[in-house]
């Protein structure tokens, strides 16, 4: 195997056609598929996670479009209440557990070993196990569509909402097996998440390359270290609550059986002790991507690395103490309400500070608005708004009006779509060249961005208003005299734009896999270790394990007279 001409910076690129990459491994189609199925390579597992997540993003998106179609006009009879209730349950469950989580685990899997100079994750077989658990958990959940009819013939897909409050989920009020499919599907996926988190934490702690102390590793690694820790702590309460619910439903236990003295509020506590850290688990990787992408496209180092680390760890801890802001209307009493107002407002401080750090990174830089940067700037503005509506909801009395209304739906979609999905798109455009050796098309990328931004704002800016005007969530229709009709119609139109954007995106991916420009090892002129390998990297990642002296090893190589380690 010969290495062809190096780039002007002296870094070998992957343009050598005689080198055999993962994707070009010879063999019959069956052999190649078999290779993917039995793989323990973190890069392949990462790609599979991301593809799984993308597929479920489309599925969840179709569910959303159906929901918006039903809600576009008042007193609509397009979809029955029974089907509608299953649509929003499946939409939420799919998007969180089968799309967002696999996206973040996929990127963790792909990037963490490469960025810390390791050859693979700490436990490759556990890694594969975690992926396949997630894969099968999705099949289990969707099998409910055909298998959910229990003996009493009641129900197909689950219809209890993605947080499945008690006692609606008890045998008495949820007949048949639809709820059981929800419980088992999510629980199995939870085990997969814990397996991946064990891998991420162990890899980052024990497998960093020589010279890479904790304070010299990329911010993405720090953020994923905290994410891993949070998954370990926060997923288990959900698993525990689901075991309790299964015991209630199958063995006659009384955990949430209010007739026997059980407490419906206990489920809420357990669920939200998971549920709130969960959304930080989802958003921290978005911060990770922003902390890698924004510096490269501003041509500047990240501003305030140590404070970013500190803020991340602070978020990790404080976010474990805010859960009952989802329960302000449950009647916990003024003391509890006050405590959770204060803790929720305080978690906004380390979270909001990061926005300043990113802006300061861009300040004085030379901003290049390639597609990853477009999505990153959208993320910045949208996360700002999402955080501010979060502060509004943190004020408990304000939440007594806004809780369970469309204002909350607008807020969390602003976070999950406006911040998280936007950064996932940015990350895909940024790292697709590394994973496949080809660039995604810039023009299609811009179409994707603008269509999605227009659709996103049409839908989710508007959506705050019906909430303020009294529209609760999870209703399949509404009266014409409430003044919500036109607003809902606008939200529904926005959904179509977002759908169109996703079609463009998928087309871009498929086309670029075949005809995209060859990327080389470092198309963006970046500074972290993954850009030193060929694109795509060989299965062993690095020919020799690198040794680093600063946070931006490739900056040091490209600027030998002015390396980073003089300043850190």
């Amino acid at each position: 195997m010969t290495v062809k001409t190096a780039t002007q910076d002296g870094i070998p690129d992957g343009t050598d056609s005689s080198w055999v990459s993962e994707c070009d491994y010879p063999g019959t189609l069956l052999e190649r598929i078999h290779g993917w199925v039995i793989t323990v390579d973190h890069k392949r597992l990462g790609i599979m996670y991301v593809l799984l997540a993308l597929a479920y993003l489309l599925v969840g998106g179709v569910l959303a479009i159906l929901i918006r179609a039903q809600l576009a006009v008042p007193n609509n009879h397009l979809i029955s209440p029974q089907v509608f209730n299953r649509l929003f349950t499946l939409h939420g469950t799919t998007m969180i557990f089968l799309s967002a989580m696999p996206f973040i685990f996929g990127f963790a899997n792909y990037l963490v070993p490469l960025m810390i100079g390791a050859r693979d994750m700490a436990f490759p077989r556990l890694n594969a196990f975690g992926f396949w658990l997630t894969f099968f958990s999705g099949l289990l959940l969707y099998f409910s569509l055909i298998g959910g009819e229990g003996l009493s013939g009641a129900g197909t897909a689950p219809d209890v909402g993605w947080f499945a409050y008690s006692p609606l989920t008890s045998r008495a009020f949820s007949k048949g097996h639809s709820t059981d499919y929800w419980i088992l599907g999510v629980m199995v996926g939870g085990f997969g998440s814990i397996a991946t988190a064990i891998n991420i934490v162990t890899t980052i702690i024990t497998m960093r390359c020589p010279g890479m102390t904790l304070m010299k590793m990329p911010l993405l690694a720090w953020l994923y270290l905290v994410v891993g820790g949070m998954v370990l702590i926060a997923i288990s309460p959900l698993t525990a609550a689901q075991i309790m619910l299964l015991l209630d439903r199958f063995l006659g236990a009384h955990f949430f059986d209010t007739q026997a003295g059980g407490s419906a509020v206990l489920w809420m506590h357990f669920f939200w002790i998971f549920g709130h850290p969960e959304v930080y688990i989802l958003v921290l990787p978005a911060f990770a991507f922003a902390s890698e992408i924004i510096p490269v496209f501003s041509r500047k180092a990240i501003f305030g690395y140590p404070v970013m680390v500190g803020a991340t760890v602070a978020i990790g801890f404080v976010s474990l103490s805010v859960w009952a802001h989802h329960m302000f209307t449950v009647g916990l009493g003024p003391t509890a309400n006050t405590f959770f107002t204060i803790s929720t407002m305080f978690v906004a401080v380390p979270t909001g500070m990061k926005i300043f750090n990113w802006i300061a990174t861009m300040w004085g830089g030379k901003l290049i608005f390639a597609t990853p940067m477009l999505f990153s700037v959208g993320f910045l503005a949208q996360f700002l708004i999402a955080g501010l509506t979060g502060v509004m909801l943190a004020a408990a009395p304000f939440d007594w009006q806004l809780n369970n209304s469309y204002f909350v739906i607008a807020h969390f979609h602003y976070v999950i779509v406006g911040a998280i999905i936007f950064m996932i798109f940015a990350a895909i455009y940024y790292w697709f060249p590394k994973a496949t050796g080809r660039m995604l098309n810039e023009r299609l990328g811009k179409w994707h961005f603008y269509l999605f931004v227009i659709g996103f704002h049409l839908t989710f800016d508007t959506m705050h208003v019906p909430g303020i005007l009294g529209m609760p969530r999870r209703i399949y229709t509404y009266e014409a005299d409430r003044g919500w009709g036109t607003l809902n119609f606008i939200c529904s139109v926005g959904a179509l734009f977002q759908g169109a954007a996703l079609v463009v995106f998928v087309f871009n991916i498929i086309r670029s896999l075949q005809k995209g420009a060859i990327a080389g090892s470092d198309p963006w002129n970046a500074w972290t270790l993954e850009w030193s390998t060929p694109s795509p990297p060989p299965s062993y990642n690095f020919a020799t394990i690198p040794e680093v002296r600063s946070r931006r090893p490739l900056w040091d190589i490209k600027h030998p007279t002015d390396p980073d380690w003089n300043y850190e």
């Binding site: 700490a122 162990t202 702690i205 020589p210 702590i233 288990s236 075991i243 015991l247 003295g261 002790i273």
Partner: protein, 198 residues
């Protein structure tokens, strides 16, 4: 074939001061602790809230025998690991088998206790809130004992075939950490369920 010669390449790197196995096991223990904490919280929350049925102090007896078995098994597993580190394979095998026997005895005692509770006292998981929280918490712990015993059993089989030696100490020690965790959980369960009952 000696499994040690087929070590994957990344194990030949200079080993960090903390081993992967230990960190991984620590992570697993964090996750498991979180599950147990939730079940303990449920138990404590529902104390005194059963609207019918037997009370803890009416039916529970301190499980002294089982506790002694389980806690001693922590000691014997430590001795086993120490023996293996000194490459004394038969001593290792003996202590390891003792650990398994003690763990199995604990399960046997739990089974006996449950039989008495179900058949004589009429306490099942669906009797009342106490039954629900008691069986689920003690049962969750017992499940982890079973899982641990299974892993210990697999090692026993390898040991009997003569395939375990000094170079496996690190991995055996990681498994021992799990076993110690199971014991610590039992101490917590013992205090919360049995000591608080009286």
């Amino acid at each position: 074939m000696n499994t040690l010669t087929a070590v994957p390449s990344f194990e030949q790197l200079p080993a960090p001061s903390i081993s992967r196995g230990r960190v991984g096991m620590a992570c697993l223990i964090v996750a498991e602790s979180a599950i147990f904490i939730i079940f303990v919280v449920a138990y404590v929350f529902y104390t005194g809230k059963s609207i019918s049925g037997p009370l803890p102090r009416q039916v529970l007896e301190l499980p002294i025998a089982g506790t002694i078995c389980l806690l001693s098994s922590s000691a014997t597993i430590t001795l086993a690991v120490r023996a293996l580190r000194k490459d004394r394979k038969s001593l290792f095998g003996a202590w390891w088998a003792t650990t398994i026997a003690l763990g199995a005895s604990f399960l046997f005692c739990t089974a006996g206790e449950w039989r008495k509770l179900i058949q004589k006292e009429g306490l099942t998981i669906s009797t009342n809130l106490f039954g629900t929280t008691f069986y689920s918490l003690v049962g969750l712990h017992a499940t982890h004992v079973v899982a641990g015993l299974t892993a210990l059993g697999v090692v026993m089989i390898f040991a009997l075939k003569g395939k375990v030696n000094r170079l496996h100490t690190e991995r055996i020690e990681v498994l021992a950490i799990y076993w110690h965790f199971v014991d610590v959980v039992w101490v917590v369960v013992f205090c919360v369920v049995y000591l608080l009952a009286s």
